[in-house]
Each structure stands twice: as C-alpha cells, then as structure tokens.
Subunit: 886 residues, 2 copies
C-alpha cells in the first residue's frame, strides 16, 4: 500500500474529485476545490484503504500511518501558522467521516478538536473572546464524549439545563464565559464519574481517539444495517477528514451557511441559500435561529437582511465561486461555507439533490448554456424521478389534516367523497361526482368502481396488492394497506386515527406519493408535460433504441398513453372489458351455459361489444401496433361469490340458487393462478377465443375498409406452456381471421404470438417460435411461477424478505435478473434461433421500471410496454440504457 | 427406391426378422420363419415404403410395383403349383396389413381372395368338397365387401339369418353347399343393390382392391387417432402381406390354432395353446366353438381331446417348431398355425405378451437354460409391469359382484367395512377392524384415516388427486374419481350402480388395479417377492448405477421400503407427523400463539414426539442415509375449516371462536401452492425449523451414543428460491446441530441441502450450491411451477390434454423432459460446476416412473427416491437405463 494520507491546502492537493473511492466524497471534493484555487481550510484525508486494512488487521492501523499523519499535520500547522496543542497559538481541527456514498448512522463530526485547559488560553488570546473560547471548549467536550467516548448525551445536557436554571436564563446565549468554563469542569467530572475514565487532555490522544471512532462507526449496527439495505459492500470502508477549524461564530463579521448553485425545487438558475451571522454550522441545521436568505433575489417581505446586504464582499466572492463550481463540475452544487472575521472558507461541495422538476430544468438549461450536451442532460434525470411529475400532485401551499397513513401505492393525488362499493362509485361518478373508493381490499369485481373513482383507498394489501397494481395500471392514485383504518361496510364508514370517523359522502383527499389520507378536499395541480419536459423527452427519443408501448384496455387509456408518447399497445387485456356492467351478465350466462349452443348464444351478445371496444382502441392508436391478449383469467373470477349477488343472478338467468352455487363450487380452484385459465380455456372452450378473434378482425376490417386505416393486429395467446397448445389455437385463430377477411373482402396483415409467462414456455421457446410470430414476456406471472410466489399472498413474507435483504428488491417491482431474467434471456436466444425476425417485447409491470427497462435493452428486446403513466419513465430509462453504455 | 416387394417361400426369403420397419412385424417374421426352414405358405410382402410413397404421390402406386407384384405372384404360383384365377387349379391368397407395431383400427385381413364363380369350381375339384368351396366363397364375399367395398356387414348377415330361418336351422354348419351357393348369389345382388356396383369377379381386380384397402385403412380416422394417442408417426406406413391360402376347415385332418411357447400367465416352461379341428382361424377367435387344449399337459378333466392325441404327428412337428422358434428368437413366442389335410403350416410368430409374473419366470428360466444372459433377462421385464406384483391382488378364482368402477388410482386390492370419516377409520382400525375409507374427496386432514384404512375410495378426483397420490405413496390400494358413487355423509352411506346402497359397516372390496368396487369381501393373495423375482432383482442390482431410495415418513414405511430394497430414505416428510392425532393439537396451539414465547411452548411439546419418530426411522434404516425435509405446507393446512372442528378447538385452546376464525381467515391464501410455506415459514418462524433440527440431531446423537449406530442425517430445506434463503437457514441449522452435538458430547457428520422444486432454484443452482451439500429434485412442485399447473386443479383440463395429445403424457406421472427435464439438467450442471461432489437425487413421484428413472440416469443423478412399493420398479428401470444404452 502506497500512501495513507492525502493532503489539501493552499491551492495544492494530493487528491482529485474522481478519487471518491479512495478519499470518500467529502475528501475528494475538498481536494478538488483546493486544486482549483478555492479557499478551503487546509487539512488531510486518511484513505478508505486504511479503514479496510484496519478491519483486516484486527483493528490495528497499518505501519507508517502515524508518521504520515504527523507529517501532514505539520504541513497544516505551517500553512495556518499555528501548532496543534500549542499553548499560545494552538491549531484546532475538525474530524469527519466521509465514505463513497453518504451514509446515515456513521459518526459524523467532531469539531474544535485540540482544545484542553492549556490550549483554550491560546484561543482566548487569538480570538480575544473568552466566552467564545469556552463555548467552543464545552461544545468539543460534549461532542467528543458523545461520539468518541460513548457518553450519554443527556447527562451533560442535564448539567447545562441545571446551569441555566441556576442563572435564571432561558437561552445558551445568555450564559457567560465563566458559566461555560464552569460547565467544562462539571462535564469532565461527570464523564469521569460515569465512564470511570478521564476526558483526554492530550490533543494527540484526542485526534487518534476521533480517528478510531470514525473507523469504529463503520461497523456499528446502524451502519451495517444501512449498508445491508442499500447493498453497500463492507469493504468499501470510510475515509477520515482532518481539517483545520474555521469559526463562523467569532462575531458579527462571521457567518456560516449552505447554498445550492441553482434552486433545487424549481431548477431556476438563481443562487439559492441560507446563512446565519455569528453561528456555527450546527446552528443552521438545529433550527433554533431562523436562517436568512443569502441574496436579494430570494429575500421576501419580512425576511431578515440577506447576506448580499450584510456581507456584500463575501457574497460577491461566494457568487463567483458558484460560477466556478458550476463550470468546473458542470452540475448544480450543494455547498457549505463559513466566514471567519470577513474571510470566506469553503467546507464542502457536492452534486445537489433536486426535485424531478428541477432536475429537468437544470439539465435542459445547462445544455442551452453550453455546459453539457444532450446525452449528459438525459443522464442527469433519473427515470424513477419522473413519477413525481406524471400525476397530479397536492398543492404544496394548501393546509392538510392527515387522518391516516398507508402505503404510497400509486402516486398522484385525488380528492372526492368516500364511497364503499364499486357500484356506488360508478353510480355517483356517472352523475359527475368525484369519489374515492374505500375498500378493505379490492378484487376484480371492483374494477368498474376503480375506473370510476378518482382514487382508491384500502385497509389491507401491500404495494403489489390488487388495488395497488390495478391503480398503477390505471394511473390512478392509490393508498393501500392503510392499517390505521377500520372499515365497516355495514355502516358505510371508516374510523381513522384519533377516532376520526369518515362516513359515506364525506370528502377526503389521498396523496398516493406519500400514503397520506387527508380530511376534506385539498387542491391539486396537474402534471406539466410541456416546456423543458418535452424538450428533454425529444432528446430521449433521439437516443433510445427500445420502442415503448403501453398496457391499455380502453380507448381512453390509449389516448392518455399516446399523449405520454406510447408507440403502440403492448398489452390490451380483453377481460377487463368482460367486467363492464353492460356485459358481465352475458359473460355469466356464457359461463353457466350447459352446452356449446348456450355458450355460443351468450358469446353472440358479447361479440358486438368487444368489436366496439377494439374499434375505439384501433382508432385511438392510429395505425400503431396493438397487441390484444385473448381471455386470460379463470372463469370463476366472473361469477359472484356473495349470497346476495348470487341471488340477483339467479333471477336474471332464470336458474336456481342451488344450480348456481353448484357451478360456483364446481369452478372453485385451490390455486387459480395455476388453474384453468389462459389458453387452457381457449382449448377447452374454443368458441370463446373464436368470438374474440372474430371481434378483433371485424373491427380491423371495418376500419380498413371504411376509414382507410392501416392496422396490423397482433393477437396474443396467453399462458402457453407447450407449442402444441399454440399450434392448435393458432390454427383456430387463422381460420377465423381468414373467414372474417373473406366476408369483408379485405386482406390485412396480422400476427399471432404468445405471452411467455411460464418457465416452460421460456425453456422451450425454440419450439414455441415455430408457431409464434411474436413473444411478449409476461414477467408478472413469470416471476410468480419462477419464484413459486403468489403475488396475492406474498404480503405475509415478501416485505420481511426485502427488509432483511433476503431479496435485494421486490421482484414484482424490479425484474429479478439472476433468475427470471435468465429465463427471459434464454427465451430470446432460443426464439431467435428458430425465427430470427421474431418480435420480442415485455408487457409485465416491469416494463415501466427503469432498472428492468435497462435489462430489456441489454437482452435485445424490441419494445417494452407499461402503464400509460409510466411511458415517459420507460422512454427515459431506454435512453439511459443506451447512453450509460449498458 | 429399390425394391417394393419381398418374397418368401420354400425356405427362401428376401426379408429378415430385423426388417420390421420395412416389412412390418408380420411380414418380417414370415420371412424369418421361411428362412429357418419352417413350413410357411409362400407369399410376398409389399413394403411400408410403398405405403409412404402412395400417400406422398396422391394415392398413386410407384411405377414398377405392378410388375414386381406380378413377378412375385408368379413365384408363389410356381411353388404352389396353382395359378391365380385359374379355373381348374386356382391359387387363393390372403391379404393382410402389417405395420411395425400392431395397430387396432386398421384393415386386418381378407381371406380366400381369388374366388369367383369360375375359380370356385376349381376349388371344388381340388378339395372334392362343394360345401367347403361355397362356404369359403361366401366368407370371401362377406369379408371383401365389408373391408374393401365398405358394405354394411349387417345387411349380408341378415340374408344369412333369413336363409337359416327358411331352412329351419340354427347353426351355420347345418347349411348345405346349395344354401351357400344361393347365398353367394344373394350377397352379390344385395351388394349391387346397396352400393350400385358389381362385386369384382376378376381376381386381379380383387387383389388390387384389397391392397388399396390396406393402404387406405392407414389413414382412416380410427388409425389416425390411435397413432396420435400412441405417438406413432404417420410416415411409418403399413406393409401388405399377400400369402397363399391354406385351409384348416377341409375336414377332420384339418385344424387351426394359436399357441404360446410357454405359459403366458405363469411363465411355466410348457407348450401352451388351443386349437380347433376343421376350422378357420376366425372360428377360434369368434368363440362359437370352445377351443381344445393342444397337449395332455394342459388337458383338464372334462376337456375335449388334445391335439397331441388327435393329430399326434402334427403335434410333434409343432412341438419341434416351438423349440426351434425359442432357440431362434430367444424369447417366448406367440404363434398361429393351420393344418391342412394333415400338413402343418405356420402363419405367424411374434414375441408373446405375458403377465409380470410370467415375464420374470421366463427371463430367469431362459438364463438358466443358457438361451439368454442376465442383461437380456433384465431387459425382458418391463419395469412398469412389476406394479402388478407388488401389491396384494384379488384371488382370480373368487366370484365378484361389481357395484361401481372408478379410476385405478393405486394398485393392489383391499377389503374392509366402509367408513366415511378419517376418525372413524382410525378408531375401528385401532380395534383391529379392516376398513375402507370412503370420501367424496380426501384432504390432508384425512391422512390418519388413510393410514388406518386398508384402501381408499373417493367419488371425485383424478389419478393425481390427493387420495391417489397419498395412497400410492403409502402403497395403499385406492379407487379414485368413482363417478358411479353418490356419497351421503349425513346418512353415512353411498349409492352405487343399480341403486345398490352401501352403509357404514357394510363390507366392500376395492381392486386398485382395475378401479372396481365390489360388494362384500373378496379374498386376496399377497405379493410374492422371493424366488425368480429375487433372482432377477439381484441381477438388476448388479448392473444399475443409480441408487434407489424411498419416500417414507414412518418407521413402518421405512421397514416396508427396506424389504423392497430401498437403500435409504430420499424424502422423509415431517408434516405428516404433525397431523398425527396426538400432536395436531400442539401444532394448532403453535400456529395460534400470538408470540414467540407461545410458539416455543407449543413446539416444546412437539419436540419429543418428532424426536421419537426420527429415532424409529433411523433404527429401521440401520445407518443408510436418511433425508429429512423440514416443515413444508402452509400453516393453514393444519387448522380446521369446518365449524364444528373450530368449535372443538376453541375449547381445547381456550380461545374464542371469533379469534380462531380470524386467524383462519388471516392465514387464508389465494394460491397456497405459491404461498407462505417451505423455507418461507422457516425464515419467518425460525423456531419451527430449530425445533425440527434439534429433534433430528438429538435422535441421531442418542442412537450414536447409546446404540453404536452410524448415521449421517441429511437435513433438507424445502422451497428454496434464492441462495440467501438457504444461507440464513443453513446457518441457523448448523448452530442448532453444533449445540446438540456438544450437549451429547457426540460428533457426527451431517449434510444440509435443499429441494430444487422451483424454477428459480434450478436456474441459480450454481449460487445455491455454494451453500447446499445436496440437491433433491422435487419434481412434483417443479412440474407445477414450470408448467404453471396446479395438480389439484388440473383435473378439469389435463385429461383432455392427454386425450387429445396436447401433452404426450401426464407430466405428473412421467417427467416432462423437454421442459422440466431441461431445468433438472441445467441445475445438475450448474450445481456440479460450483460443488463437483454435490449429491444429486430426485424425490418427486417421478422417482418411481420408469421413463423418468431412465432420464435421471442420463442426467447423472446419484439416486432416485420413490414410494416404498415402487422401489423394485425404480431398481429395474435403473438397470434398464444402463443396459439399454440410455
């Protein structure tokens, strides 16, 4: 190992910004700022490799570290003209941890290190301010004893409170130099008493104690847990930064502050920050005093004077540094600074966190400013961030009375009157009322109500519950699994926190991005898809290779998706159409028919309605490809299960309750997910698929003939496990297609393909591709079967799995590349080996997840398909896949 | 194409026995018999390639066929000294189809071809028997018009009946030459009337008509269906055999018969057959006259004279041929012969079908006789045949009153009194009564009753229903899905065919090999595992490479399996132990406990019982390896679902019905197969697995310490999807193991491994093998997840799939090699790539299926494990795998 310690100071630095792995983020940027001539208090960084060695060698420092630290400390002393531990002109330092990634849970900072009963005198002499010196001293004792020695903070705080009581004062600022001096002594005595050891007087002992504490905190429980949850390897280690102290609290020519080089909320190109006169950094954070704006641009009516007014020279210098930093880093920076007696020091710079909106504006502006190019701009916006933008959001200025909190299951915001049944939701919505559908859990029978509602609130179910999944698909706001709620269907009401009762008809508001349930109506603001957003998306479309389609079942969904940039429909589920109120009765009649004739009679009623749906969808998609999946769910999903619904059905269908119950019982399945569904229905009841294919082709032929459309329908057969299934069903479908085309005198192209959603289909994709003209990976079901994991039931253990890192993430959210992804890759290769021109896409929910989209790009799919509201996310992720060299 | 027609006759033949693909089975063996000097009437075979060409060329014969047929017919004429179509000395021929495999549904035979009003005179002259000649003529017209011309048989039969009525006689034999002659005319007139065409007089036209009919029948619907069901490719084609006629019905020095070179029922080395004097082959089959034994050995009190007595010279010649054929074919032969005026002719020979018992005896005897070697003997017995032998069977001599028929779900036979609940079964069995458990369907709660019963009868469910699977596992007789039954629990009775009512306590008998339900008790005979069986199995064990273990959950199962030759336990399911009456309450207490403490308290009650089980099993297995699977099913399977059971439980556990119902509801799963089970339980409730591991290790340590045993327990963790799961559970298990061993002061080897039963586990087997010391393929669940097919629900469509050949066979019976097998193979390779010494086995039901065992051998597993009663089948199949060069 070469070098343990990296120096920075006076325009020279051993490190650089790109050495984050070795120096940590903080250390690397301190070195960089020093190199480019910014005023950084000198100091040095002990590398992350030392940390790694430290743990490898049973908590021993590598040989030579001592000497290097001593040598570098000497350089700092020389630059500062002060000496560490000197009685007359002592050097004080800060010791801070700094890993590659910022990591909560680790030891953060010890300030004013080097103070003792001797050196404090030197500080008094230097500063001419005894109160300041003893205040600094007591702060050091408090901080050091807490983070290095493991002293209980409260014990010392208690002594401070006692002192204030004694003196009859309320604020720390009311205590005098003598009070602080007395407290330092009392603190040390109490430390001795509690820990049985002396507070170290020797500055060298203090320094090595603090260094050891930083390394030690790398392995504390909170840090370990954080790393486990965030997949950070333990051998990354942390660096230690030792830096000479500067003080923002030595008088009114002193200050401390934090700033962003642009507004992190809006992205506006203005310098944005806060500062406090005569204060230390922790005072800004602690919130005891209200920070002041740094400039006039920000200053609002009633604000205290801005730094621009109070310390104009320092402000101008800082504004210049802002320009230098942006030009240098080519990104918006988040900085910390301190002014000591009129002199500005930079303590930190890093890329600033920002809202989605700001991210886009900054990226687009920086291209215009010539700072970065389009590609860099695209990579500056995280696809997942867009989610915030694509849904209406609560007006941040409006007051909110939060009455419960659940899972933020589907983002966006919605307000409406609470209703407790899907029928009620539909009824009120039809009369123009905005409603929130409240259910214990939702089921497929609630679909029409979910469609009608502005938002969905459930008491049970996780992020992947029926309510959550369907709501996300619809782009509807949803708060799920809200354990605070006690829903009582009988009284059509629910009880929330603090006994608040919401009855049917009461107004509530949901925030699907936070999981909050709010009493009354809170104003919302709609998503903004023009301006910078549109500009960025134009660039995105220029670079991406993957097409992005949408999962849409209705003309309205299709329209929304088109607006979001969808290039076709990758999954049109026909069963949602079956649930519509006007046709569910015909569907039930079909299911309950005793023979083919009865089924065909019922199907004849559904045919014109399905055809109408397809005409609507084809029209909206204006010739873009549309993949229609034939009926998938098991038939029992369409039957009522509650006694009163069964009763109602018997009347309409003229059968006995007994007969109906028998049928329901007969159709019952132990594992419906693995049951009589998908192509298994198509094979046992060919008339159902025949009707659907007929509806698709009649719709297409009619548009082609009468409206001059160009349409290439893609007919998708679900749940194929063997090529024999597809062969038979394809033959049936082709026969129907040819017949319909002949009757219309129209000839059009159409494709017949399959979902790849069972492991067996993926494993035998070479065989299946002999028949299939396209594959669409149904990764929801493929994940369920590959893991042997029911999405409906996983709520009892999947959260535990993700929490304890048994799974790095929920495999229903982000595609499991090692397992499910291996099948997808295999299927792509096998499929192409048989049919090189086969069209490959994905229509599971993963199609809208950025990491999964990047995977899809890598394995060479032609398109991804996702819910309308995630289309822009997928487009951006697809561009990232190309530009990040994935 | 070289040669269309293969001649045989007079000791010379163009074909050989090994040319079955070209000449069909019948043609190849006629050629072979001719070559080895047996008296075969001369003839020729038109090859299967002609058939294939015929269909390729739009039903046209290949050029040159005509000439070849003519040339070969000439050779036959020369040998026979007769001429086809000649008025004075006509040659008559038979025309028969003959494919590679015997195929029902195809045209079979036309006899006496060549007869017309002219040639019949020649036959009269040759035979000196006008009645014989016209009888032959009318038979020909009947057969030919039926199979070649498509005439309705009944129409001619009707004329025959009329004639007999006219003449006032009952038997055909009572009709005279004149009657037959008249009938020939009437037949032809009726044919003309119905079909509008003449019966062909020209023998050449007759011949080509018959040849065309044979080829045509290859593509008739019945043949196509049969081929589809049996996976016979259409392009195999059929051959046509044209052979000169010989007559067994020309007088009392004529006869016809069929024989087996050894007894096909017992395998005894005696010539076994039947014959009829003065008869044609069809008379033996038709059963109008009772056939007579061929020799004195067979002849029983009251039998007619044997052929040995009546035609002693012919018999001696035939007995000689028997020896020649066995020496030549080295297998038991099934032969047909005809004696025409004291001269013996051989018409067919083929390997004879035989019972399992006979197959074994013949194979072992032939080794002793030096005819074949051990390897050949092993290959002579089909593994699946053994099933017949391994269960008690009904005494074939006993009379039976069959009252219903269901699926032969688990072979064997059993008699007992009917009971309708599992508790009742257990109660009566404990009192020494033999019972048959009758249920609509069984569930895991019935396990104790199934254990207690002699046999199980269910009204619903297929070959893979719970009842069928569990019964096969237990080696218990089971008739499942018996739709004839109406079970009424209320009155504790069922109604069977013809309204027969069986009440609780009535005696019934089940035949699990036929699916028959019989009133009263029928005597049974136990399986015979000694003698020839034992000899054969000794040879089997010498050649096989795969080890064979058993799936056994109790000491008793283990004992049975040992007797059947099991070399260890591949799957010991611990949950069956949980269902035992004495512990289910503690299990329920554990499930219902609100906290860890409550669960641990309940588990402490179960621990000594589980330990006792393991001690029993380890003792039975005498140091052989035992793989114990930790708890697998979801917890709700252990809870009662019916109101009265819930009620009873509340009393025992002192909880309210409400609480209990809530818990049951909370534990409910939509897809339990994919739910909270297997290692997911072990991770969320580590105390359960800890208890089980403790019980296993304490049992092992105790035996090792006190009884000087050698035991290497194999602890198997089910339902692993990711290596992270296994890593955590293995660490837990190792900790418990070490602790137990320390407390006993015993050090023993143990292995920790996993089931591979989820596609993801197979796909990531390289990762999983970093932790797993063995893999056991759970191909039941792997088939369910790979196909996305619930075994419990597949009954509604899987039979349809198998019937229509969408699947070549039930994938739960025979491993799906293309899909599931691909995963197994992949997992073996990946697992070995990480851990070359990893132990690989299979414990799904496929472990007892011969085709699947052969697959397991091919992919290089170390062992298969199956239910005790299938152990010998697996052993034999494993030897086949080696010897058949698989």
């Amino acid at each position: 190992m070469a070098k343990f310690v990296y120096f920075f100071g006076n325009g020279e630095a051993d490190g650089r910004a790109d050495m984050k792995n070795l120096l940590g983020g903080k250390g690397a940027n301190l070195a960089e700022m020093t190199s480019i001539g910014l005023p950084v208090p000198p100091g040095f960084t002990i590398t992350t490799e030392v940390c790694t060695e430290f743990y490898k060698n049973n908590s021993a420092y590598p040989a030579g570290l001592n000497d290097e630290v001593a040598a570098n400390l000497k350089r700092v002393e020389q630059l500062m003209g002060r000496t560490f531990g000197d009685a007359v002109n002592p050097l004080l330092v800060s010791v801070r941890s700094g890993a590659r990634a910022s990591m909560p849970g680790m030891m953060d900072t010890v300030l004013n290190l080097g103070l003792n009963d001797t050196t404090v005198q030197g500080i008094i002499a230097q500063s001419g301010d005894e109160r300041f010196a003893y205040d600094a001293y007591r702060r050091f004792v408090q901080m050091y004893s807490d983070v290095v020695m493991g002293m209980d903070k409260e014990a010392l705080e208690h002594l401070l409170e006692q002192k204030k009581e004694e003196k009859g004062v309320h604020l720390d600022t009311d205590l005098t130099a003598a009070d602080w001096k007395d407290l330092v002594a009392k603190f040390k005595a109490r430390i001795r008493e509690v820990l049985g050891q002396e507070f170290p007087e020797d500055p060298q002992e203090q320094l090595w104690g603090a260094i050891g504490a930083v390394f030690g905190s790398w392995m504390n429980q909170r840090a370990i847990t954080y790393r486990k949850l965030n997949n950070i390897p333990a051998d990354w280690g942390t660096a230690v930064n030792v830096q000479s102290m500067v003080f923002g609290n030595m008088g009114d020519d002193c200050a401390t502050g934090v700033a962003f080089t642009r507004d992190p909320s809006t992205g506006d190109n203005y310098f944005y920050g806060e500062y406090l006169v005569n204060a230390q950094g922790e005072d800004v954070v602690a919130g005891i005093r209200t920070p002041q704006p740094i400039n006039l641009h920000q200053k609002k009516e009633g604000d205290l004077p801005a730094m621009e007014e109070v310390l104009p020279e320092c402000y101008q210098q800082l504004a210049g540094i802002r320009q230098i930093l942006e030009k240098h880093y080519k990104d918006m920076q988040d900085i910390e600074f301190t002014i000591e007696k009129g002199k500005l020091y930079m303590l930190q710079t890093r890329n600033g966190k920002r809202t989605a909106c700001a991210a886009i504006k900054i990226a687009v502006d920086m291209v215009k400013e010539g700072l970065i190019d389009e590609k860099a701009a695209i990579l500056r916006v995280q696809p997942s961030q867009l989610d915030q933008l694509l849904h209406p959001s609560l007006d941040p200025k409006a007051p909110k009375k939060i009455i419960a909190k659940g899972l933020p299951a589907s983002p966006g915001a919605a307000a409406g009157t609470a209703v407790f049944t899907a029928d009620e939701a539909e009824l009120l919505a039809r009369n123009g009322q905005k409603v929130i559908l409240v259910r214990i859990e939702t089921s497929p029978e609630d679909i029409h109500g979910m469609h009608a509602a502005q938002g969905i609130l459930t008491a049970r179910g996780g992020m992947t519950s029926h309510a959550a999944v369907v709501a996300r698909g619809m782009g509807k706001c949803c708060v799920a699994g809200c354990g605070d709620l006690k829903v009582d269907y009988a009284s059509q009401s629910f009880t929330a926190r603090h006994g608040v009762v919401i009855k049917k008809g009461d107004l509530i508001t949901l925030d699907g991005s936070t999981g909050e349930v709010i009493m009354g109506e809170v104003a919302t603001v709609p998503p903004q898809l023009t301006g910078d957003f549109a500009t960025l998306m134009e660039w995105v479309d220029k670079y991406r290779k993957l097409k992005v389609r949408t999962n849409a079942d209705t003309p309205n969904d299709s329209k929304v998706a088109r607006e979001f940039g969808a290039e076709g429909i990758g999954l049109c589920r026909t069963e949602h159409m079956f649930f519509e109120a006007d046709r569910i009765m015909a569907v039930r009649e079909m299911i309950l028919a005793e023979d083919l004739e009865g089924r065909e009679k019922a199907l004849a009623k559904i045919l014109p309605m399905q055809k109408g749906d397809f005409i609507g969808i084809f029209r909206e998609m204006k010739g873009l490809p549309v993949t229609i999946r034939l009926l998938d769910p098991p038939l029992h999903e369409f039957l009522p299960t509650e006694d009163k619904d069964i009763e109602a059905l018997t009347k309409t269908l003229n059968v006995t309750t007994q007969q109906l119950k028998h049928k329901v019982e007969f159709l019952h399945e132990f594992n419906p997910m693995l049951g009589h569904r998908g192509c298994r229905l198509g094979l046992t009841y060919p008339e159902i698929y025949d009707m659907q294919v007929q509806a698709i082709m009649e719709a297409a032929c009619e548009l082609v003939k009468n409206e001059g459309f160009s349409i290439v329908p893609e007919i998708m057969i679900p749940l194929i496990a063997t090529v024999s299934e597809l062969k038979e069903l394809k033959a049936n479908a082709v026969a129907v297609c040819e017949e319909v085309m002949a009757s219309y005198g129209v000839k059009l192209e159409y494709l017949i393909g399959t979902m790849i959603e069972l492991p067996r289909a993926a494993l035998t994709a070479d065989e299946i591709a002999t028949e299939a003209e396209f594959f669409s990976f149904g990764t929801n079901d493929l994940t369920q079967t590959t893991f042997g994991l029911s999405r409906d039931d996983a709520g009892k253990f999947l959260p535990f799995y993700v929490e304890t890192n048994l799974l790095p993430e929920d495999p229903f959210v982000t595609l499991d590349q090692n397992g499910v992804g291996k099948l997808v890759k295999m299927a792509c290769e096998l499929g192409r080996s048989t049919r090189p021109e086969i069209k490959l896409g994905i229509c599971g929910e993963h199609g809208g997840d950025p990491a999964s989209v990047i995977f899809c790009h890598k394995v060479g799919l032609d398109y991804v398909s996702c819910s309308p509201f995630r289309v822009p996310i997928a487009r951006l992720a697809a561009a990232h896949a190309v530009l990040a060299g994935n």
